[in-house]
């Protein structure tokens, strides 16, 4: 079966975020970028399914500016077979991403789409659900285990109460939780090999364009800062402060 994996290039999760002084967004110039962590899980799972002989081909895609080819290259080095960049100079909103993904699905006819459960930048956590809805496919959100048998996928979802097990009819959209797997690192030979793997570039205009953005960011501000407190010398002082100062116990 063919798997489509989506990846997004985001500010590396270790970077300290700085809000721009004009409150128009966060500083991205000269900031380390990386593949969205949940998308690393998505890529890893697709590669494992191929290693197990369940998947035959893995296509990876992103909808982004041309620099995001580096993220696709990283996914190719991890084991994806080929890549599609839907290029857009402007930021594409979730509905625009879904519009482009639908076109790719029409063209590639994958039986399974694995995505991240959320992008750590805008934290929408919605592209998977939007896409599954518009395709009319089954969905498994925040998944930590996938078992494919025949035309079904058995998945375990991480929930607030623990976990739940679902059976999905294929084709389906599955979004990855961090607990789905432990992503590998690309080996040097695989990084070299990935340089020869194809990346197809399609302008977003040919993919339906960015369907009229519906969300406008009016301003971005730093969060309220917590005041650094005090270090107390011993347990007795702590208990005293909790009782009499904070009145917390």
């Amino acid at each position: 079966m063919k798997i489509l994996v989506t990846v997004k290039r985001v500010i590396d999760y270790n970077v300290n975020i700085r809000v721009k002084t004009d409150n128009s967004g966060v500083e991205t110039a000269n900031v380390k970028m990386a593949m969205n962590p949940f998308d690393e899980n998505a890529v890893e799972e697709a590669v494992r399914l191929k290693e197990k002989g369940v998947a035959t081909e893995i296509v990876v895609t992103t909808i982004d500016a041309p620099v995001a080819q580096e993220t696709l290259r990283a996914a190719l080095a991890l084991g994806c077979d080929r890549a599609i960049l839907v290029s857009s100079e402007k930021d594409v909103q979730p509905l625009g991403v879904v519009g482009a993904l639908k076109k790719i699905v029409e063209k590639e006819t994958p039986e399974l789409i694995i995505m991240g459960k959320q992008a750590i930048d805008q934290e929408g956590g919605q592209v998977g659900g939007l896409l599954a809805a518009q395709l009319g496919w089954a969905q498994g959100a925040a998944v930590s285990k996938i078992e494919i048998s025949g035309d079904k996928a058995k998945v375990i979802r991480e929930t607030d109460e623990g976990q739940e097990t679902l059976e999905l009819k294929l084709p389906a959209v599955i979004t990855a939780d961090l607990r789905l797997n432990a992503p590998r690192f690309a080996s040097l030979p695989n990084i070299m090999k990935a340089k020869k793997k194809p990346i197809e570039v399609i302008p977003i205009a040919e993919m339906g364009g960015d369907v009229c953005p519906t969300i406008q960011i009016l301003k971005v501000t730093p969060p309220p800062m917590r005041k650094r407190g005090v270090v107390v010398p011993d347990v007795a002082t702590l208990v005293n402060k909790l009782k009499n100062e904070a009145k917390a116990i």
Binding site: G125, G140, K154, E161, E164, L218, V220, G229, A248
Partner: protein
């Protein structure tokens, strides 16, 4: 047009984040309806009808809604959606699963995890693990919104409205609910607890997590939380994880023990009223948000603390 709130419940009763979501819906200044879809969930429907400010409860009772499958729930919501201006759900694993799909069916985007309402189309939400706060305006014809419960008070149970049974049954046949593995606990729920005792990788093992964290939590009547590292190492179950990818909590008192305070953890607890940190590393980032810190070995400090309170 009214706002519709999607009820999270266990068929018998409502889940607490729903009450915060209803408060957010009431702030829109419109009539608020609540949809209770479940199987033999009249208990939850009756409870929803007793929440102050709610104008109407819609109750859909069918086996198709038993496991709250996204496919069936979203199809039902999409069918009702044209009569509403706003559709809200708690930003819990329940809401995060169902609402984007409902939005997608209606051709709308979702406004996720809001912490403030500026007007009927403008909302405040954290981005980048809470390291930035965005104010966003939506022009979608219906606003699909998930609500961060810690940012809104709980609605009170002083109302009485009618429960209208709806007959729509949406059974897509796309997915099947097999089983839920729920963690059993006698402790207060993390989303309602006044005090949370939270442990990290510094606890070293599941046994030590139990013998160090539990007695303190018992003494305080507290819920137990954890960092992702502690959950991944198997010290405690995943439903205890707090942070960007776990639960977001804001108790009166949060005691962070042997956890470093990574950005992703802080994202889930830095709105707590009082924060206490116990860590042997004086440079651990958790101290930057803690009101009171103790630097030292948790295996000495925590038992002493348990004894002292």
């Amino acid at each position: 047009m009214a706002a519709l709130v999607i009820a999270e419940h266990d068929h018998k009763s409502l889940k607490s984040p729903l009450l915060n979501t209803i408060t957010a819906a009431l702030m829109l200044g419109r009539p608020v309806s609540v949809l209770v879809a479940g199987k033999e969930a009249s208990g939850a429907a009756q409870e929803a009808a007793s929440v102050g400010g709610v104008s109407e409860v819609l109750y859909a009772d069918d086996a198709a809604y038993d496991g709250f499958l996204a496919e069936n729930m979203a199809a039902l919501i999409a069918k009702l959606a044209p009569s509403y201006s706003h559709i809200l759900a708690p930003a819990t694993s329940f809401g995060k699963n169902i609402l984007p799909r409902a939005a997608g069916l209606c051709g709308c985007a979702q406004i996720s995890d809001i912490i403030g309402i500026e007007s009927e189309d403008t909302f405040v939400r954290p981005i980048y693990a809470g390291n930035a706060i965005a104010t966003v305006k939506s022009t979608d014809k219906i606003k699909f919104i998930t609500v961060r419960s810690t940012a809104f008070d709980k609605a009170t149970r002083n109302g009485k409205c009618s429960v209208k049974k709806i007959e729509e049954v949406e059974d897509s046949g796309l997915s099947r609910f097999i089983a839920a593995q729920k963690t059993q606990t006698n402790r207060p729920d993390l989303t309602v607890a006044a005090i949370i005792v939270s442990g990290g990788r510094g606890l070293e093992s599941a046994e030590k997590f139990k013998t160090i964290i539990e007695p303190l939590a018992d003494k305080l009547g507290a819920a137990i939380g954890a960092s992702r590292a502690a959950v991944d190492a198997g010290y405690i179950s995943n439903d205890c994880q707090i942070g960007q990818t776990g639960k977001v909590v804001a108790p009166n008192l949060y005691i962070a023990i042997g956890l470093s305070g990574a950005i992703q953890h802080l994202a889930g607890m830095k709105d707590s009223k009082t924060i206490v940190a116990v860590n042997k590393d004086p440079d651990a980032p958790i101290f930057a948000v803690a009101d009171y810190g103790i630097v030292g070995d948790l295996f000495e400090i925590v038992p002493e603390l348990t004894k002292a309170i």
